[in-house]
């Protein structure tokens, strides 16, 4: 029983990372119906920006909490700027060409990896060690890392915040209107361009949080860390029901727990086969994902 709980905690932590990244995919897809394949690599870029601030600037001399906060703030701002820059100069003209957009986004993903590889080198980099991530505590008889609680807690609050934002605020409502029909939304006086930027910006901010959080927790970051994470998160978004905020969370947590469960109780050798097999089954039974594709439901 204890080890089952232990495996569950591990799965929820990994799943929270997936969920945060999946939210970015889902936000953008919900509005422009496009998949931004460079999203996973934004996580990687953000992790490197955070590392740079902590390791190469005087910020690293501050006590742990403020230095992480400052690094996170800088990383979030920079990542959002990069994302908006990409949108303005590259993506904007391709928004009506899904295939072109997909290829360009993939190219951006590889370009980001190459740039980071050139600038910071191909070897792994390590965040400074923080006691919060190196020491474990006993919780209800299982050994958890305090960062597990931080990651799960932070991810949960961010996700609840996102649900509130999308369902209860005016901007969120405008976004949902946009998801249903661009032209009708425009006729209602909704600023489509600005809302697309908001979606890209929120996605980038969540990616940055994921990147810095992952660095602080696991210490190790590398230029190739974003791609597989992005792929798993994208899968999570689709399984949960892409375009659906709650679906992204469910999908992310599901994949995380499934991964840990398969490794812990079935076979690690076949882990990816099991996971993707399950996903095929889910999508076979529910083509629109577990919670349904928001946009499709409304049309």
């Amino acid at each position: 029983m204890d080890t089952l709980l232990q495996t569950l905690v591990s799965g929820l932590t990994v799943g929270s990372f997936y969920a945060l990244v999946a939210l970015g995919y889902t936000m953008v897809y919900g509005i422009v119906r496009l998949i931004n394949f460079a999203h996973g690599d934004l996580v990687m870029v953000a992790a490197f920006i955070g590392w740079f601030v902590l390791d190469r600037t005087p910020v690293g001399d501050l006590p742990p909490v403020p230095q992480i906060a400052i690094a996170a703030a800088i990383s979030i701002s920079a990542t959002v700027l990069i994302s908006l820059g990409l949108l303005k100069f590259i993506y904007r003209s391709l928004i009506n060409y899904p295939l072109g957009f997909m290829i360009v986004a993939l190219s951006v993903a590889f370009a980001l990896q190459e740039i980071i590889k050139r600038v910071f080198g191909a070897g792994d980099r390590a965040y400074p060690p923080y006691t919060i991530s190196t020491e474990s505590i006993d919780l209800l008889g299982i050994t958890v890392n305090r960062m597990d609680l931080v990651v799960i807690g932070l991810a949960a609050s961010l996700m609840i915040g996102m649900l509130y934002f999308v369902n209860r605020t005016q901007t969120g409502m405008a976004m949902r209107a946009l998801a249903v029909d661009h032209d009708a939304a425009r006729l209602m006086g909704i600023n489509v361009k600005a809302l697309i930027a908001v979606a890209f910006g929120i996605g980038a901010a969540l990616a940055a949080v994921t990147g810095v959080l992952s660095g602080v927790y696991y210490q190790r970051i590398g230029f190739e860390m974003g791609f597989m994470l992005g792929l798993k998160a994208f899968t999570a978004a689709v399984v949960g029901g892409i375009g659906n905020v709650a679906g992204a969370m469910v999908g992310g947590l599901l994949i995380g727990v499934l991964e840990a469960g398969v490794q812990g109780y079935l076979s690690g050798t076949w882990s990816d086969a099991f996971i993707f097999g399950t996903l095929i089954l889910v999508l076979y039974l529910r083509p629109r994902g577990l919670l349904g594709e928001r946009v499709a439901e409304s049309t």
Binding site: V14, T143, S267, G268
Partner: protein, 408 residues
């Protein structure tokens, strides 16, 4: 002549004749070259070929190999050489690839070297071996290429200083038996070809020659960050030791999570898990008594007097620390020098090959002695643990092939 030309003779007489002429011409050139070889080699400096990657992604290791070679001949030449003949190095760049390897090998053959020492990338070493073998079995002392095929291809002109890839698994199992005293082991790989083959060979070795019961045998997904599900599983399966055959980027997080979960079993990493990033990520794990890494005796890990001397001399001469594998090149050069010194008058390929295989000496990397294939009889693997700053050997494989405390 060669069988293809004779078999075609009936059908295409002209082609066969031309082919025969060309072949005969080629052979006569070779014979002439070899003939000249022997006469050239009886006077003047003794020319030794160095095959190393001097360009490309591992060029820094090539430079290390060249430096180590220079160090090895320094004292010999300072004493006036062997029988009054100094040793002269002839470095050929194999660029760590097959085609360049062949060209570099052909250059060395044309330059009439008495023997070749080197070989870092197996991709370049294997095709170069073909060239040397065709050149009347030009002696080739392989220093760093660890592909089993180097000595399994049946060539008679090869001895090798580094341990073969497939020697690791028996050494790993012996370590579990002799040092760790493991009774129930968990073997984990990462689905990559190298790690799977080490893991499979360990399993085979245990089945054939005895060892701990394998209670868990599985893989982790490389590139992931969280290995706690696997680590807990190993505990649940009742293993007293976890052996990881994969690579260091995963071993860092594994070691870190192993120590932070406070697990009861030993953690041992294979030869590809040693890296400073592991200490960086898991400072508590790498100093733990139950933690160790089985590794090659690389330049910075060796503790003997000769090794310390090697490091000091190297730093003095070249201004930086030696690379990890140059020390095998150093020992390879010393092996060749010993074989030459035994009878400097007869440096023919056949005689030198015979003497190389019979050479026995104390090298920096341990006792050197070759089996009939040309591999070292007991490769001196080390088991290391961190002292807080560096990895330090705790145990090593001795001359008799069994593990024991490492002489410090």
């Amino acid at each position: 002549m060669s069988s293809p030309s004779t078999s075609r003779e009936g059908k295409r007489p002209w082609k066969a004749i031309i082919a025969s002429i060309v072949a005969m011409f080629a052979v006569s050139v070779l014979v002439a070259a070899c003939g000249g070889d022997d006469s050239d080699n009886s006077t003047g400096p003794i020319k030794v070929g160095i095959l190393a990657p001097m360009s490309g992604s591992v060029a820094s290791d090539g430079e290390d190999i060249q430096n180590a070679s220079e160090m090895a001949i320094e004292s010999v030449n300072a004493d006036g050489g062997i029988d009054g003949r100094k040793i002269e190095l002839n470095v050929a760049d194999d660029a760590c690839e097959a085609q360049q390897g062949v060209q570099a090998a052909e250059k060395l053959v044309q330059d009439n070297v008495v023997a070749v020492v080197g070989g870092y990338c197996s991709d370049a070493t294997l095709p170069a071996m073909e060239v040397f073998s065709r050149s009347d079995n030009l002696p080739f002392v392989v220093s760093v290429s660890s592909n089993p095929d180097v000595t399994e291809s049946g060539f008679e002109n090869i001895v090798r200083l580094i341990g073969r890839d497939d020697f690791e698994a028996p050494a790993d199992v012996a370590y579990l038996n002799d040092v760790v005293g493991s009774e129930k082991v968990a073997i984990v790989h990462d689905n990559t070809e190298f790690a799977v083959s080490v893991a499979d060979n360990m399993k085979k070795e245990i089945e054939e020659n005895g060892g701990p019961e394998i209670v868990y045998f599985d893989a982790v997904q490389p590139g992931s960050n969280d290995y706690r599900a696997m680590l807990d599983r190993v505990e649940r399966e009742g293993a007293d030791t976890l052996f990881y055959t994969g690579f260091y980027p995963e071993f860092g997080p594994i070691a870190r999570q192993w120590s932070s979960l406070g697990l009861d079993y030993n953690l041992v990493g294979g030869t590809s898990t040693i890296n400073s990033t592991v200490s960086e990520l898991a400072p508590d794990a790498v100093t733990d008594d139950r933690f160790s890494i089985v590794t090659y005796p690389t330049a910075l890990l060796l503790q003997g007097k000769e090794a310390k001397q090697y490091r000091a001399d190297y730093k003095e001469k070249f201004g930086n620390d030696p690379g990890p594998y140059g020390v095998f090149q150093y020992d390879a050069m010393k092996t060749l020098i010993a074989a030459i010194e035994e009878d400097p008058a007869d440096l023919s390929h056949e005689a030198l090959n015979e003497r190389l295989k019979a050479t026995e000496l104390e090298g920096v990397t341990g006792s050197i002695k070759f089996d009939e294939k040309g591999d070292r009889t007991a490769f001196p693997y080390l088991a290391v643990r961190s002292d807080g700053t560096d990895f330090v050997p705790e145990y090593s494989v001795g001359e008799d092939g069994t593990w024991g405390e490492s002489g410090k």
